[in-house]
């Protein structure tokens, strides 16, 4: 990984073609270099986060002004946050945790509260409400750096919340 990000750009808005091009054109015109980025669509809303390496003559205010112009044109909202190197030490996830159950408030909170108390670090999270509107099912998938002994606690919580929680080790093989 080359380059250090000095700004995080957050984009959210009703999905339509051209959002990525519109935002990255503004960044390109500022002389910025893109590092890692991720996006998803949630309930018809496009959400994206970009880590950006800005040139010395481009401060955060200049980025905001330029991106706000692009955001107005696109009908989306853009937020620019300064970032430092502090977040660079990444712990690779060891486990995939899947949670499925009848939808009700509190599933994410209870599961992640348990994980946080156990010292587990969440590295990725996706959740969707699936199934019919009469019987909505909440599906949550997490990638986690999971300390030993946490699986038993998750099993107890699954029984208490009446949801299924399965834990699989993430093993990648170098071929």
């Amino acid at each position: 990984m080359e380059g250090n990000a000095n700004a995080a750009v957050w984009v959210v808005g009703a999905d339509r073609p051209g959002i990525v091009a519109g935002v990255t054109r503004a960044l390109f015109d500022l002389g910025c270099n893109l590092l890692d980025a991720a996006s998803t669509i949630l309930r018809g809303h496009f959400a994206m986060m970009l880590m950006v390496e800005a040139p010395p003559d481009c401060d955060i205010e200049r980025m905001r002004a330029s991106l706000n112009g692009a955001a107005r044109d696109l009908g989306i909202s853009v937020t620019v946050s300064p970032v430092t190197d502090e977040g660079r030490a990444g712990v690779p996830p060891t486990h995939m945790v899947s949670v499925y159950g009848a939808d009700k408030p509190g599933i994410v909170f209870r599961v992640t509260d348990l994980l946080s108390t156990a010292g587990a670090n969440i590295t990725d999270l996706t959740s969707r409400v699936i199934g019919s509107s009469e019987e909505p099912v909440y599906a949550l998938m997490l990638e986690v750096d999971l300390p030993a002994g946490t699986e038993e606690k998750l099993a107890e919580l699954a029984a208490e919340l009446d949801v299924d929680i399965s834990v699989h080790p993430i093993e990648s093989d170098l071929l």
């Binding site: 996706t126 969707r128 699936i130 998938m141 093993e171 093989d173 170098l174 071929l175």
Partner: protein, 160 residues
Amino acid sequence: MVRVPARVLKQRAAELGDAPDAQLAADLVETMRASPACVGLAAPQIGISRRAIAVDVSAHRKVTTSHGLVVLFDPVLVQAHGRELGREGCMSVPDLTANVGRARSVVVRGVTPEGAERVIATEGFEARAFQHEIDHLDGLLILDRVASLATDVFRRKVYE
């Protein structure tokens, strides 16, 4: 070791045919042995666009079937059965791993460095390794094969 974005990794490698290359076989094995975690290597990964692979999964923890060190020229997947998702890393693609669906059991036919035809039937991790290496000969990397179970499960909702 050649890494992306080297073009040699994205080309279809050329058959060796009637010209087996003992030096290429030796170079593949030597390079594979130089990286302790490496269980397979294809000639494009050492910068040579020829259809040659080396596989040795015998020391890997996941192994259920192993033929030890195998070097094959012009390997072809002649049978493939079942499907299994596994997370793969590749020496030529630093920093990333990808969930890749592979056949659970395969039959591979190729030519040994000594010029004899060899047919190998295997399954599990060794079958995965052969498929990964043969992909390299067709210019296919793990990023060309991504299939994330998580996104597949969730995407169905979108297309219903």
